[in-house]
Amino acid sequence: MATKLDAVTIQILWNRLIAIVDEAATGLIRTAYTPSVKEYHDFCCALFDTSGRMLAHSTVTTAGFLGIVPEVMRNFLRKFPPQSLADGDAIITNDPWIASGHLIDISIAAPIFHRGRIVGYTLCIVHHLDMGGRMSTLASKDIYEEGLKIPILKLFEAGQLNRTIFDFITANTRVPDKILGDVRAQIVANNVCARGLKVMMDEYALDDGLEGLASEIISRTEQSLRSKIAKLPQGVYRNDVILPRIPGVDTDIKICCEMRVEGDGITVDYTGSSGEVGAAVNCCYNMTRSYTSYPFKLALDPSVPNNDGALNPITIIAPIGSIVNCRPPTATWGRTMISHLFPEIVFGAMEKVLPERVLAANGGAPANEIYLHGKHADGRSFMAISQHSGGFGGSARQDGPATLCFPNNTRNIPVEVTENESRMMYLRKELVPDSGGAGRNRGGLGQVVEYEILGGGPDGKDQVESSVRLSGRRENGNFPVSGRLGGKAGRGYGLEINDNEVDHGTSRTLNPGDRVCFRLSGGGGYGDPLERDPARVLDDVKEGRVTVEGARNDYVVVIDPATNTIDAAATAAKRKTPQAEARA
């Protein structure tokens, strides 16, 4: 007898679906070969019903995949409808427009057959180390420079591996063994997911398939978000911004964002934004969808697990041919230079309606990414990836934590792991005092990171290719790491090689002994710094998060460095500005 989907059963099965994709993610991590998966966690595992609706994604994932995942699955099914699929098939692609916006991500999906028919689909997307082409650079003018494109193909046919695809990957990439190892781990993830679903369907006798459960999950999620939206004041809220200069792009890039709250839905309209550019920062629609939907879930309905239902209430208008909905063959490797800003731009529009639920800017958005490529002493090629975060934005409730990833969500790769994987040595990775934007609630501290190139190859003299991509956001330039509601901007930005300032986002050939140093800004502050309790400023000084000078200049709190106490009289006198008077 089939299980009746009452409210208790739905909740149990819903939790179970999430546990299944989490187990898939565990399988992926345990069998992966590169720190990109094992440490960085730049992946997503997801589970779908037969019509391709996403029911659950792994708890460990990055926000960039949330809107992408449902699109990939639907695109796969358009090419390979259910009747063309057999048990043991797996489908692969890395086409940016079909999948996740740049070639370096490979998507692999598989139908889940149970008792002779398809009951659902499993998908695993992984950010790989390399996909050939020009290495990790914003300078590519089109997609053809960026590497190998794998169209939608069957990687497995009825359990048989299509070796031709592996041969193409091997022939086109710098570290094929590692990449194919991670591809195999993706297949493991899909196997684990399929097995988990089949066990659940047997255990709960879901003889009629997943569709009933899927509709319940998705409609409840959608209704929940819609009910939150319906409580917002109706209206049109705009936030148009000019982005910092992107290396290789001569014109200013503008993002126009109009947020329309209409009944229980929201439309975000990017009409008016800049067109495609001849640098690798163009965003495919899927990516725009992920990072535009994410801030609404975050601000309005964070406690309900995410699935297709959370995407439905958000309509996105992104003109074709603009930088937020680019066409082939534009270059897209560094698409996060644009897409990682959408949550903040949306928060800027939302600030007027929901000041209590927006964050000040994150000092590390768009995310930093480091690539290194060279030879080990034994002659093997290495490719290493790394990422470091800026300070988190202050909010209505708290100071921003130091060095915390946003809006993507990847873990740093430990210093010791990267040093084992490549020929480099970190010289420092430390918090920077006074880098957090001042505010009633301070922005989290940013950091300074410095590394030195070690010689590679058998004689220890080989050069190393390396690139560092940063946010480009300076305190006094376009689009600084802003505070909100009177909070100040975060500080500390820059990239130097051997003490000379250079552009970020391009790959360079470095010699042994070359030093690369970069700073990731602190987060923006929230609220007027003069409203910050002097006792909290003193705590920050004692802990070395704010200097005595910073306390005086940013918070107008006078601290006697000899005794580490507040000079109450001097502080009161100095804080008595016309501004402060007006408030009181």
């Binding site: 409210a7 345990r30 309900v304 915390l404 990775k429 802990e543």
Partner: protein
């Protein structure tokens, strides 16, 4: 082990529990004594003395004392460890605060991260550098280490952790720094990261090392005083300590790296629940162990609990994975919550009643203990509600002061909130149960199970009092309360097989590892483990290899055939690995070579045979008395009180009712239906509410809350 007696001692934050089994006939005696704070060994020795009364040679003839302790975790949760400093490679002093830079909850705007144990002002970098291959790039600047030591001494530091990059590969600098610190800071205990966790990933290693330093003084002095006290009483053998994964070590080894004991007490509980699950034939268990300070939950399937390599302590968000401080030691994969009988109830700044996570412990203890406690606790609420009897606690040996508990709840909670004493006490009971339930829901769901599939085995002093309330919230249909629930972890120490493990990293391709070298290594490890055991012991010996495809991190355990290792043994191990890999992950044609990550030797001694007293009553017991008890809906009833010893096998009692025994009380709510099993265990069918709307707890509207 030879004939004689064996002792199990489980020291918790509030009580110290004792079990003694006569190995000739399996009879068991138990004791329960208040843990003496500041000098935890006093309670242990006091309990031992009680057993010695009339049997003076108990210790001299004892085969073994096995000890489990929650001292380490409680020191961390209550932040009562040493004032700790950290010395790192220059440029990396913030690694404790930078952590992994990831949000453990993708959807939480107001995410909080765990506060580092060492504040920034006590973190100092010194010049030195070892590279990934172990070569020295920059020698250790000894003057800077001395300078750092002086700076830390001036700051009043009591313990120091040293974490240098790549020390797992070359530990010379850490060792030298340790030597200098010993000279500069006599009496200050030092933890060196390569001794605590010699593996890459600096944050996890640093976090573990810092926590080790933080608890070291407390643990070392405790174990020293305990060993001395036992020696004075004629005990001649080694003192054995339970590790966090159910393995065993000696007190001397435990002292060197005390963080290994982080889950020692809970591990004993897991062993006990596994033992009972096996003996009662229950396949899927939710072990629920609630003591004075914390509650522990663990899923045991088919007699085995899962193990993990990294544990997290002190999670800041609802026990959500990733929100705590990582501790890289082998542990049972269990859930620990700061909720126990001693958890303190307070009115917070919002005017709301909060319970825990800090505990009154044994001193000053709950108000009703009359030991100076002023702040009302969960136990005080349980007393006010009538779940505990003022004159029957510890069989009447420890009278509880109901009037004082009532007055404290009134003064500190009822008056400020304008509620009645009983309403507030009910609220405390409810809040602590809900805290445990919400953490448990997530833990169970993460394992892909539903509470409805699990049988709860409830123990620990407060476990049977709160078990039915918790089971009702979770939807667990059945609760089992074993005999001696109040001292069950101590029983687990005796019943469980005693395992001694030694492992060593190998990291070589299987086909390039000379079999003879591997065999030598395994024999060495075996001898090391054997040295921990008495000469006359005849343990079972097992050899294992952890294997993986070269390039992966995670390894799978494969048994190695004894007593020799040759080429075919390695080939068989590789084949076994590939077969296991295919079972777990599907048939993946991986053409990478297989690597031996590490090898491990496990020596196992069988646990003692235990004969617990069976119900002897022939006629069903009638209530010995009645007590006013507040039910879940707030109404009062006159609940029958049954002494557990008087119950007959097969007897059925429907709640509301109270079953009292010396070390605990089982509180049956309305409709809970208890049957006495032939083994003496209480088997309770939980009266589950039928509420359709409870189904979607995760849809709670936190946004507008």
């Amino acid at each position: 082990m030879s004939e004689g007696v064996r002792l199990g001692v489980d020291i918790g934050g509030t009580f110290t529990d004792f079990t003694m089994v006569d190995t000739a006939n399996g009879t068991v005696r138990v004791e329960k004594i208040l843990t003496s704070t500041g000098a935890a060994e006093r309670a242990v020795l006091q309990g031992v003395d009680r057993f010695r009364e009339g049997q003076l040679d108990v210790l001299a003839g004892a085969d073994g004392i096995i000890h489990a302790t929650t001292l380490v975790i409680n020191t961390i949760l209550e932040r009562k460890g040493a004032r700790t400093g950290l010395i790192t490679t220059a440029g990396f002093r913030d690694l404790l605060e930078i952590q992994r830079e990831v949000r453990y909850d993708l959807y939480d705007l107001f995410i909080r991260l765990p506060e580092p144990i060492v504040p920034r002002r006590l973190r100092i970098g010194v010049t030195e550098r070892v590279l990934a291959d172990g070569s020295v790039r920059t020698p250790l600047n000894e003057a800077e280490v001395r300078q750092a030591a002086r700076q830390l001494r001036e700051a009043g530091v009591e313990a120091v952790a040293v974490v240098f990059l790549h020390s797992y590969r070359n530990n010379a600098h850490e060792k030298r720094a340790g030597g200098i610190l010993a000279e500069e800071l006599p009496g200050v205990l030092v933890s060196l990261s390569h001794q605590v966790h010699p593996e890459p990933k600096e944050y996890e290693r640093a976090s573990t090392t810092v926590l080790d330093a933080y608890v070291k003084r407390t643990m070392a002095s405790y174990l020293d005083r305990l060993s001395d006290g036992l020696k004075e009483r004629g005990y001649k053998r080694k003192l054995f300590i339970m590790l966090s994964n159910g393995g065993t070590t000696t007190a001397d080894h435990a002292k060197a790296v005390p963080i290994q004991l982080v889950e020692s007490g809970p591990a004993a509980g897991v062993e006990a629940a596994s033992y009972f699950g096996r003996s009662m034939g229950i396949d899927r268990i939710l072990s629920f162990d609630m003591g004075g300070t914390t509650a522990k939950l663990c899923i045991v399937e088919h007699g085995r609990a899962e193990r993990a390599r990294v544990f997290e302590v002190d999670r800041v968000k609802r026990f959500m994975a990733g929100s705590g401080l990582p501790v890289a030691v082998p542990v049972y994969d269990l859930l620990e919550i700061g909720a126990g009988g001693g958890s303190i109830a307070r009115v917070d700044s919002l005017g709301l009643v909060q319970v825990g996570p800090d505990s009154a412990g044994a001193a000053p203890g709950p108000v009703c203990y009359g030991l100076g406690g002023l702040e009302p606790t969960v136990t005080d609420a349980d007393l006010v509600l009538g779940y505990l009897g003022a004159d029957s606690f510890l069989g009447g040996d420890m009278p509880l002061d109901l009037a004082a508990a009532d007055a404290a709840v009134n003064k500190r909670l009822a008056q400020p909130t304008g509620l009645s004493v009983e309403r507030v006490a009910s609220g405390i009971f409810e809040i602590v149960n809900e805290t445990m339930a919400s953490a448990a829901r997530q833990y169970v769901a993460e394992k892909g199970l539903a509470p409805s599939e699990l049988t709860m085995i409830a123990f620990g002093g407060a476990g049977p009092v709160h078990a039915l309330g918790l089971a009702r919230k979770l939807g667990c249909p059945r609760v089992v309360v074993p005999p001696f629930p109040g001292v069950m972890s101590a029983l687990g120490l005796l019943a469980a097989p005693v395992a001694f493990e030694r492992s060593h990293s190998v990291k070589r391709l299987a086909n390039a590892t000379p079999p003879a070298e591997l065999e030598t290594l395994l024999r060495q490890l075996g001898e090391e483990a054997r040295a921990l055991l008495p000469a006359e012991a005849s343990p079972e010996v097992l050899w294992y290899a952890d294997m993986r495809y070269s390039g992966q991190d995670h390894a799978l355990e494969v048994a190695l055939t004894r007593p020799t290792v040759d080429d075919t043994a390695i080939t068989r191990a590789v084949d076994a690995f590939v077969a296991l890999y295919h079972d777990l992950y599907g048939k993946i044609d991986d053409d990478n070579p297989v690597e031996i990550a590490s090898v491990r030797v496990v020596l196992t001694e069988r646990g003692s045979t235990i004969n617990l007293p069976k119900p002897t009553a022939i006629a069903p017991a009638t209530a010995a008395s009645h007590r006013r008890m507040i039910e879940a809906d707030g109404s009062a009833c006159d609940a029958p009180v049954y002494p557990r010893a008087a119950l007959a096998a097969g007897q059925t009692i429907v709640g509301p009712a109270l079953i009292e025994e010396r070390e605990s009380t089982t509180m049956l709510g309305r409709g809970d239906r208890m049957t006495v099993d032939a083994s003496g265990a209480l088997v309770i069918d939980v009266a589950l509410p039928r509420r359709a709307d409870e189904a979607v707890p995760r849809l709670n509207d936190k946004v507008n809350a």
